[in-house]
């Protein structure tokens, strides 16, 4: 296993730290014993075959799915406290695009994490939302209902919502799926800008050739961590073979046995 070479500054906890995390999905183990320490200020791609648990890893890190063992810490905090500094861009299919909201409404939702129970978004929140929309070049569409957007535009709105969260750690789940080339390069540009500002971004990505160009570091995932480190070191034939080669049939079989008999 390639180890990360970042030294931890004693005064600052890493953006994401995972220890021995095992996660089950519908009683079937999907991730086994995940160990991860993520350095700050990097653009990290998560790649692996289908069913490898990439989305599950993000959801477990956010606490949306409970782990059956191990723990996750975000900037040294666990549970809800850690979530305050996280921005999340989920998969596009997870949402009903016929919902009666317009682009501005969706982006404002990103500010809700900072508002208390019955508090309304104020002028400052709207400012932040506008700036986020500007960054993704969607400000002219602020009043458009979300059903009337193309795939690429929807993705940019989601990104703007995450930017409005003003987070330090971002999780993105397949942000380039079904998106046109122009939007894709625009989004990559925005991610680079974020990185320059010292943010940490973790992206589940499905396309190998572009993964090599877009990301500083790669996490090769297939039910367990195959490798994690700088792209040039990790993007090798052997490691990719191990990730995509499908030699872990036993792991999958046993996971199925656990699901059926309930260990």
């Amino acid at each position: 296993m390639v180890e990360s070479r970042i030294t931890k500054l004693p005064s600052q906890a890493p953006p994401l730290e995972i220890h021995d995390l095992t996660v089950a999905y519908h009683k079937k183990p999907v991730l086994w014993g995940i160990d991860l320490v993520v350095p700050p200020g990097k653009l990290i791609g998560i790649i692996g075959p289908n069913g490898a648990g990439k989305s599950t890893l993000i959801k477990a890190a956010l606490g949306l799915i409970p782990g059956s063992s191990g723990w996750v810490k975000i900037f040294g905090e666990s549970g809800r406290k850690g979530l305050k500094r996280v921005g999340y861009v989920p998969q596009r299919e997870s949402v009903d695009w016929d919902f009666p909201v317009n682009v501005m409404d969706v982006v404002l939702m990103g500010r809700y994490g900072r508002l208390r129970l019955m508090q309304r978004p104020n002028a400052h929140d709207r400012e932040v939302a506008k700036r986020a929309l500007e960054m993704v070049h969607m400000l002219p569409f602020a009043n458009r209902q979300i059903a009337n957007l193309s795939g690429g535009q929807q993705q940019r709105v989601f990104l703007a919502r995450a930017l409005a969260q003003e987070s330090d750690l971002y999780f993105m789940d397949e942000p380039f799926a079904g998106v046109d080339a122009a939007t894709e390069s625009a989004i990559v540009g925005i991610l680079q800008e974020l990185k320059q500002k010292g943010k940490t971004i973790m992206v589940v990505h499905h396309d190998l050739p572009t993964a090599r160009n877009y990301f500083d570091m790669l996490l090769l995932l297939n039910m367990r961590v195959v490798a994690f480190g700088p792209t040039e070191e990790v993007f090798t034939y052997e490691l990719l073979q191990q990730t995509y080669g499908g030699r872990l049939t036993i792991l999958a079989e046993v996971a199925e046995a656990v699901r059926q008999r309930g260990a």
Partner: protein, 331 residues
Amino acid sequence: MNELIPQFNWHDVVVSPWTDGFSSTIWIVLMGAMVATACGLVGNYLILRRMALVGDAISHSVLPGLAIAFLLTGSRGSGVMFFGALLAGVATTLLIELIHKKSRVKQDAAIGIAFTSLFAIGVILISVYAASGKVDLDQECVLYGEIGLVWLEEQTVIAGATIGPESVVRMTAIALITVVLVVLFYKELLVSSFDPGLASSLGINAGLVHYALMSWLSVVVVSAFESVGAILVIAMLILPGATASLLTYRLPRVMALTVLHGVISSVGGLHLALWLGCSTAGAMVVVGSGLFICAWIFSPSQGLLRRWLVKVEDAPLDPTISTKPMKEAHL
């Protein structure tokens, strides 16, 4: 046929209720409007969360709760009835979850089994004990209520001032509370309906919102029950919101149009019932459905007329092709 549909006499049907019969008319209309407001606002969230038929289920299953509460305590006081029906509503939700989580029966069948069983128990209790005079709800009233008699009830007196019939006062209070709740918790309801994953990651407890919504739905349904009966509550829950959502994309406007729809159906239904001599609640729903059809045809953005003029493509006619978006995220 002539016997069935009476002569339409303008004076009798439209004018006289507001002149001679004002004192009874006003209460009926107010009751209808309040029921439609409370149900419509809560119902909007059912539509957005795709739980319209869970609302139908709860409206049926409050019946045994009401019947048992009445049989045990012998009184039709609000507190007792509410409690009985609230328990029944919670019992339904739990029963549905029990059936479909603990066996391979799917959710749609679980809903059907749960509410029909509970409703059957309710009807049996009522018909077996109705003859002995213990229960004074009759079977048909259960189905479509008798809103027309609401003005005959006892008047509520608060601080020495006579306000109005008991159930109208109660329904108005519930409608007002509903409005307040929807306004106060607007963003929590919005984000948990739109994107539960994001809601959780923002620290909003989506499960809590769900159970709170179900509980308040039970309260609203119970209050509406006596006026409109079990079956038509579902109409009050989703007709206004469905109509409104055909006319606008903005949620706040949907909410406002919901209330407007409720008031119009209420007034229109009253007059229709006076003319045809039929159930008032049924007439209100018919008028509401009429409004829906108008919106469906004439809506500037989604209407059938516009589609015909602009030749928009329909979704595939093959009913076996699902048009639901995939909800299961990739692993």
